[in-house]
């Protein structure tokens, strides 16, 4: 190999990693998930009725696509309106919880005396999450950001524990030592070595956390701590209409299905991703 040829080969972008093979199942799941996300985000724009508009008598199965709800409002329109909170709140909350947990976990893994952080997390982990959520709701009212805050607070003990476990072998790896040996700064090592290797396990964990967040948001709606009427989310819709299941079952079934179409692909994708990471 001559010197020139070598340089030519090297000149062609060589940080390029090989593209990962993606299976058709994964693509299908991504498409479904994307469709739900788009529907949740843009639903309010295509809904034929306003979320508070009364179109018929309560639980009239004959009106519209899914009939009407306990106040005679169009179920389809309310489903189109009710997607945003249940998608956006868990998304934002999970991202924040992963971010904070990641920072705390990395700190715990890097510090010699990591006991303090982890003991505090142990305490928070045993406090019932519903209690935390309820106290916050009563303190600040059942607003979207409160819901998100509740999810973040109850998730952080777990994201921190996970991040610490994932970060420990990276921070004490031979390649981080190697970078230290050539005098790289802590910031550079963090950006080039720790974060890229930590990102995938953290993302896999975030996928599973996302489900938990959807649960909590939907459960809050179900317990009557959803956003004030007429705004709605799929969880609240289930609880509102469950009494009329005999008259218009779609008023309950449709929002239930929407929750499942959201959670099942997320779970399947997170599982696939987590397994790839573990490999």
């Amino acid at each position: 190999m001559t010197f020139l040829a070598a340089q030519q080969i090297l000149a062609v972008g060589w940080r390029r990693a090989r593209p990962a093979r993606v299976s058709s199942v994964t693509i299908t799941l991504l498409i479904v998930l994307l469709a739900v996300l788009i529907m949740a985000l843009f639903g309010p724009m295509i809904a034929s009725h306003d979320r508070g508009e009364v179109v018929s008598l309560p639980f009239d199965a004959a009106v519209g696509f899914f009939g009407s709800d306990h106040l005679g409002r169009d179920v389809l329109s309310r489903i189109l309106h009710g997607g945003r909170p249940i998608v956006i709140i868990p998304l934002v909350a999970t991202s924040l919880a992963t971010l904070f947990g990641g920072v705390l976990g990395v700190a715990a893994a890097a510090l010699r005396r990591d006991d303090v952080i982890m003991r505090v997390m142990d305490v928070f982990a045993v406090i019932p999450s519903i209690l935390v959520a309820l106290v916050l709701f009563h303190r600040f009212g059942a607003q979207h950001w409160v819901l998100a805050l509740a999810v973040v607070i109850v998730s952080i003990p777990f994201t921190t524990r996970y991040a610490r476990a994932a970060a420990f072998p990276i921070i004490h790896s031979a390649y981080v030592e190697q970078a230290r040996m050539i005098g790289e700064s802590a910031a550079t090592i963090m950006v080039r070595d720790v974060v890229p290797n930590l990102a995938r396990p953290l993302l896999a964990d975030a996928g599973l956390r996302f489900i938990g967040a959807i649960y909590l948001v939907a459960a809050a709606g179900f317990l009557g701590f959803g956003p004030p009427p007429p705004s709605t989310d799929w969880g609240s819709m289930i609880s509102e209409n469950i009494g009329g299941a005999g008259l218009n079952p779609w008023a309950t079934i449709a929002p239930s299905l929407m929750v499942l179409i959201l959670t099942i692909p997320v779970n399947l994708l997170a599982d696939r991703f987590a397994r790839q990471v573990a490999r």
């Binding site: 005999g246 499942l260 099942i264 779970n267």
Partner: protein, 322 residues
């Protein structure tokens, strides 16, 4: 083996210390959180028309004018002596208020825990130790889908189909005023199913993963190559490595049940601690909230501690000194 005993004693002391310390820390946070709830209890009890004088008197009676740390200390002291105080709403003792709901929830949770364990072990065993077989794929997809279904959706479906449409089982789980849930066991069926589908599926996945990890260990493979019977490989070589993580998984079902019970109790109008907690927070009934919170946290802590003890007993390396 005095060394072993010595180790066990040290371990027990360490565990108990951890338990007490965690509970203490939890109690501080609980007390602070309840303090932090909005509104003045005296005002709430007397209503908005109360005169300032009467409010002052009541505040004095309830010791609300003392600084928070003092009140925490007093509360902790009486709690340690077994006195949970009185409801600020009804003057009933907290113990009397929560005794029945606690019993009801304990029964629901216990039955659900057993159901979860059975479902999880059954599905984990059905999935088998090897990936890639048809059954294992089916179990994997089924359990993954099942963990995606929040318990209140399952509850909703069960209520509308089994409860209302078919009328096979009560859609509402009212406990008879004289008696326990066990005197009408049929009311437990739907709540337990709602709780154990998600928990069982989740547990099955994690337990199966724990068993698969153990099956890959070199000593398990060596035992197979040594021609030992499959049952011996399983019982003597594989399970001892798989049990501690599996028990850990089951311990994680405790907080899941504590949280899930709140929602499920609400749906089925089951008079348990969860329903009680939701109501009392709305009423800002501090002593009751604190008592329920402590009970729930203690249950979770004990669950984790039991898992740790099992891990300790299952590991000769931890049990015996070097």
């Amino acid at each position: 083996m005095t060394a072993g005993l010595h180790n066990a004693a040290r371990y027990a002391i360490w565990r108990l210390t951890a338990l007490v310390a965690t509970l203490l820390a939890v109690s501080v946070i609980l007390f602070a959180a309840v303090e932090w709830l909005p509104g003045d209890p005296a005002q709430q009890i007397l209503g908005i028309n109360a005169t300032p004088e009467r409010l002052d008197v009541l505040r004095e009676q309830l010791n609300l004018n003392d600084p928070v740390p003092v009140r925490y200390g007093r509360w902790l002291w009486s709690t340690l002596q077994g006195d949970l105080g009185e409801s600020v709403r009804t003057n009933q003792s907290v113990a009397a208020i929560i005794a029945r709901p606690a019993l009801n929830t304990a029964m629901l949770a216990l039955v659900a825990f057993v159901a979860i364990t059975v479902v999880a072990l059954f599905l984990a065993a059905l999935g088998g130790m090897r990936d890639g077989t048809k059954t294992s794929t089916l179990v994997s997809v089924t359990t993954l889908s099942a963990v995606s279904v929040p318990e209140f959706i399952i509850a909703g479906i069960l209520i509308s189909v089994v409860g209302l449409e078919l009328g096979w089982l009560p859609a509402v789980s009212l406990v008879p005023s004289e008696g326990t849930p066990l005197s009408r066991p049929e009311i437990l069926v739907l709540p337990v199913i709602s709780l154990s589908i998600v928990g069982g599926a989740y547990g099955a996945r994690l337990i199966r993963a724990a068993v698969a990890d153990a099956a890959r260990m070199p000593h398990v493979q060596a035992a197979r190559l040594a021609g030992l019977t499959e049952s011996r490989v399983l019982i003597r070589h594989l399970l001892p490595s798989a049990i501690p993580p599996s028990v850990q998984v089951l311990a994680f079902m405790v907080p899941f049940l504590v949280g899930g019970a709140v929602v499920v109790e609400r749906i089925f109008a089951f008079p348990g601690l969860g329903s009680q907690l939701v109501d009392r927070i709305a009423l800002r009934d501090a002593p009751v909230i604190e008592a329920i919170g402590l009970i729930q946290a203690a249950t979770v802590i004990v669950g984790f501690q039991v898992a740790d003890v099992v891990g300790f007993l299952a590991s000769p390396e931890r049990r015996t000194a070097r």
